[in-house]
């Protein structure tokens, strides 16, 4: 469960690295079954990232979205995926396979690097001759240096974000809990519509919301109900348990 995977932050640079790592640790192949199995650990990792800049976590959240789709499909047999979603899943698997290839060969390169170097011939000694260039003036030198300084990346620069506002899993859970209390039943479609469906960034919100629902199901706060295959997923408060939050 959540505690099963403890990692120091930021142990993983990106979502593909983390996923391949999780899958390889279990000695699994890259497929729907293995991806569904590592979803919880993957989400646990994102949750542990709480305070990191959204620029870093955004890639993880986008990938988590696809993982949740895979997991939902494995949990709810009736769960229907759109063509887009199927596409996202296929793409994720292909990316993981490609990444795994480069990662594996990278290990081999690491082993041979600087092991047996092919040396070039050093420069023979040459008596220098002073030959300046007519275009060489102090003002040109100042100009060129100014240009070079402009191109040095500033390490501390706050990264531009693709997502306007940082939104954490916890925030989303709180928000969802409140809404459920207000209106006993809430359709997932309605929920997603409210959050917005236009841009990719906004879609991430929906997916984080979806993750949150799964989380609530696990905690027993809400019940998820789907009448038939093509129906909305209904979210209801579970009255048999007092919410602990």
């Amino acid at each position: 469960m959540h505690e099963s995977y403890k990692i120091k932050i930021p142990a993983f640079e990106g979502p593909l690295e983390l996923l391949v790592d999780l899958i390889e640790k279990r000695k699994l192949a890259i497929n729907d079954i293995s991806l569904a199995r590592v979803t919880d650990d993957f989400i646990a990792y994102i949750k542990s990232l709480g305070s990191l800049p959204i620029a870093y976590t955004a890639h993880f959240i986008i990938t988590a979205a696809t993982l949740v789709l895979i997991k939902s499909k494995s949990l709810l047999p009736n769960f229907l995926l759109t063509q887009d979603e199927e596409g996202n899943i296929d793409e994720l698997k292909r990316r993981l396979e490609m990444y795994a290839l480069f990662r594996e060969v990278g290990e081999k390169l690491k082993n041979i690097f600087a092991g047996a170097v092919l040396f070039k011939r050093p420069y023979p000694k040459i008596e220098p001759m002073f030959v300046p260039d007519k275009s060489l003036t102090v003002s040109r030198l100042a100009l060129v240096l100014r240009e070079a300084i402009k191109n040095i990346p500033v390490v501390e620069k706050t990264p531009e974000t693709t997502i306007a506002k940082a939104i954490t899993l916890e925030e989303m859970i709180d928000n969802l809990t409140k809404r459920i209390t207000e209106s006993m039943t809430l359709s997932f479609k309605q929920f997603s519509k409210e959050v917005g469906h236009k841009t990719k960034e906004e879609r991430v919100f929906v997916i984080v919301g979806f993750l949150a629902i799964l989380e609530l199901v696990k905690q027993g706060i809400v019940l998820v109900r789907q009448e038939s295959q093509f129906d909305d997923i209904h979210i209801e408060r579970n009255n048999t348990i007092i919410p602990q939050k």
């Binding site: 296929d90 060969v105 390169l109 092991g115 092919l118 040396f119 990346p153």
Partner: protein, 192 residues
Amino acid sequence: MILSLPQQIEALLFYKTDAMTESALAKLLGTDARHIEEALGELEESLKGRGIILIRAGGEVMLGTRKEMSLLIEKIGREELEGELSKASVETLSVILYRASVTKSEIDYIRGVNSGFMLRALQIRGLIEKKPNPNDGRGYIYTPTIELYQYLGISKKEELPDYQELILSLNALTEKKAESPDYPRGNESAIE
């Protein structure tokens, strides 16, 4: 006596010591790309069984000592070798090496992270080069340098570990992609 093209190339590379592009060779020797290509093949062949070899990487050529000599030369050499590479660096290098010429967005897509700082660090170390993209006037591609080949002890890309195998697997994955045309290219731009 007039020297043959392979002889002339060998002498020029020996004198220059740095890598030369095949086009610079053609210009200097007053011939064309096809003749240079042919002559380089002959030179490569004639260097078999010698103490030096021809290293070729992405349109550039250079002479170097054979890998069997590396220990002895390290002993007498003055150069300090920077040995260690991080996991993230080798990952980035492997994409650039096996893809041979690749854009930043492709590297980012394959690694699932923004590689900007990593690419700069590798350029500073002289292991990769940034060049204008011939297919896109404003874009850039990244290519391995001959120096990277030297450090790996390989004289051409075919000598990379698992080269054929990896290229086949990559092609198979790209074909798979082509078979499912309606998948959204959405996530790709998420990296930008």
